[in-house]
Amino acid sequence: MTPLQLFLQQLANGLTLGAIYALIALGYTMVYGVVQLINFAHGEIFMVGAYAALTVALAITGAPWWAVLAVCALGAMALCGALGWATERVAYRPIRSAPRLNALITAIGMSFVLQNLVMRIYGATDRRFPELWPAVRWQWGGVTVTLTQVVVWGTAALLMVGLQWLVMRTRLGVAMRATSQDVAACALLGIPVNRIIAVTFALGSALAAVGGMLFGGYYGTINFHDGYLTGLKAFTAAVLGGIGNIPGAMVGGVVLGLLEGLGAGYLSSQWKNVFAFVILVCLLLFKPTGLLGERVADRA
Amino acid sequence: MPPLLEVRRLTQRFGGVFALDEVTLSVQQGETVGLIGPNGAGKTTLFNCVTGVQRPTQGEVWFGREAPEPLVGLAAHQIAQRGIARTFQNIRVFAAMSALENVVIGTYTRTHTGLVGASFLTSEARREERWAADRALGLLEFVGLAGRSDAMASALPFGLQRRLEIARALASDPALLLLDEPAAGLNPVEKQQLVQLIGRLKARGLTILIIEHDMQVVMPISDRVAVLDYGRKIAEGSPRAVQDDPKVIEAYLGVPTT
């Protein structure tokens, strides 16, 4: 491999990872936008999404792969959307006016509950993912691109365009944007703030679910622990793009994926998992507004 | 003698908006100065710039009579250590602490017990602890909270929380006291009591800068009144002169009177 080929290869890998991070990061950023909560359990919802897709995939046989994939995605989205809605309803809404420390502790508790529930149901060991798509690969000038990567890119792009349309062009999107500006004013104007917040949780969770499915298909296995680390990386991506900023989350995810892919390729894969943390810590210390964001990270 | 507090051409800009626009103001030792003006005129912003809560875009703040010292650039706690205490427009008492503890916090700048003293409970630490508690009890009585020292601050009625905040500010034995709308939300009886309380503070020789909307509170106690409107000082003088100033009436009523 020439250096250029190596670089392009790492670029392709990083972009794949980044697309998955971006899908999860959107949930962090949307929820933070409306309720200023770092939803710690969001990583677990992503993980639940992966398990949901796995379960659906194992249940269906004999259909073409793209149909199975679509059903898996829809199933995981529906389940996680409901789960996101339920966590907001049961755990976060009752304490919305309490000090923020309480909300964050609740979120951590929720993360533990989801993680351990999944562990009870599916076991503590890695679960192998069935093949969601055929193992097709193409060679372009020495760079290998797999169907896996194409599926990840395509799905992520589709969902992000859809989300952008929803947020910018629909009544729901307008209400969401308004709520993220000023909850109290929206309530006075008759916007059903509670419903908007719940929908935001559901929507973010559904996107994370697809991220989970793609993650499982990409790595071939899933473990109940995966939500924590991947969730943190996705959160890093959200901060990278400026928390609360939806296009920022997309850009942040891709940038983080690229950095990680290139870092693992050129530096050391042993320290791979530290990159995200180091980036995160440096970013919060020196540029808490992120690359595109304008929100200041000082809400106590 | 130079003034105790001197604000020179203080400017605070948020984006394109001037919250303060070259405001100059001085407060003499022992004086009570009222700061009035419509909502959003920049009064609280001025307090924030003086107490180090915000850093002004431009301008200077000097404090001290013998050796005046610039305050801009100092942190809030450093300014408090130099003898400026304040209250807040929307009450900020320490909710989970008793009334007594709230006031004892105010003695922080006047006490010295550190980690070692606290861990070994040295006689010095014990003495200081007693001194702070006595002082706090005295101040609670002074503001009319005698007998409520063990009440949780959050459990006190609104009017008493305002007084608790004043007691906390007094505990640091400040040279200058900044009161940010102390009468807001009080009923007429409480307002009258507040005027009396401020009168007693004046009688003790305390220098006070007070933001207040209620003319019946600010006029009788102020030696001098300054008026802010859209971040500019539009008038300054005796309470009577200011009240009759057409510019002030215009600012409040929004109609030109000339």
Binding site: Q115, L117, L232, L284, P288 | A118, E128
Partner: protein, 300 residues
């Protein structure tokens, strides 16, 4: 309670109790940071790890015995707390929680990867147990028995609790609580907020460092796995259950959650689930914990 080993010398139960008391020591330290000062710290296990590795390395590389190693173990962990606090505490609110979490992970991954010094994933082996000269008996080696460690940890908890009670009733402790309640009002009352937060991190870190040294001496072997995020969250759950800011609460919280696996014998695998649920339920129903002062309910 101190004489328990004489009346009830069941070694296994004594061991569980000793472990719970070690948690209590950690909870006391974390309570200074989270409970009193209101800084949500999610990387507390790092201080524990630093204390353990400090003793382990001093013992294995320089032949230091246990007792004099306690001083550097506490000092290094405390200084580390101040050192990371210096940049990190500039970040506020939820973001600080994430930064501390990042630091915690970086420390753990660093201990795993710096194989030349730390033995990597296999950790440090063969650390000396404490030795004590006992009048009339000569030198007594703690060895692998349970009772001596029980006495040691008991003494440490009593000392630390006494220290915490004194601190919390002092000028310093009051200033910490004032910062927790209202940072701006505290600063305007003349409290140097950053300095006091650093002090809290230093004290809390030192207590964890001490606990780490005891842990290393008791186990004889330490691996990076013992100091993961789950430990940080467990200790946090203990502090929350007991009531933020309450010394008694921190100890009771640690004893309850620490001996939970024994109380729920046979339901061991549900322990983490119970931790998570406990955090959610407490935040919803009794945010002040078992012994905390009710505060925000009316102010928020």
């Amino acid at each position: 309670m101190a004489a328990l080993p004489l009346v009830y010398p069941h070694p296994y139960h004594l061991d569980v109790l000793t472990t719970s008391l070690l948690y209590a020591l950690l909870a006391l330290g974390l309570n200074l940071i989270v409970g009193l000062t209101g800084v949500l710290h999610l990387g507390y296990a790092a201080f524990f790890a630093i204390g353990a590795y400090t003793y382990g390395l001093l013992n294995l590389r320089a032949g230091w015995p246990f007792w004099p190693s306690l001083v550097p173990a506490a000092a290094v962990a405390g200084l580390f707390g101040v050192g990371i606090g210096l940049p990190a505490l500039r970040v506020r609110g939820d973001y600080l929680a994430i930064v501390t979490l990042g630091f915690g992970e970086i420390v753990r991954i660093a201990f795993t990867n710096l194989e030349r010094w730390t033995g990597g994933p296999n950790g440090l082996l063969g650390i000396d147990h404490p030795r004590l000269w006992w009048p009339g008996h000569g030198i007594f080696d703690f060895g692998v028995a349970s009772a001596p460690y029980y006495y040691l940890v008991c003494a440490a908890v009593i000392l630390a609790a006494a220290l915490c009670v004194r601190l919390s009733r002092s000028r310093i402790g009051r200033a910490w609580v004032a910062i927790r309640e209202d940072e701006l009002a505290a600063a305007c009352a003349g409290i140097p907020v950053l300095q006091l937060k650093l002090l809290a991190q230093g004290c809390g870190g030192a207590i964890a460092g001490l606990a780490g040294a005891v842990f290393a001496a008791k186990q004889g072997t330490i691996t990076p796995d013992s100091f993961d995020f789950i430990l940080s969250v467990m200790v946090l759950a203990m502090v929350v259950l007991g009531g933020l800011g309450s010394v008694r609460g921190a100890i009771v919280g640690a004893l309850v959650l620490g001996s939970l696996p024994e109380l729920l014998r046979g339901f061991d695998q549900y322990r983490m689930l119970a931790f998570g649920l406990a955090m959610i339920v407490i935040m919803r129903l009794r945010p002040q914990g078992l012994f905390g002062r009710s505060s925000h309910a009316s102010a928020a």
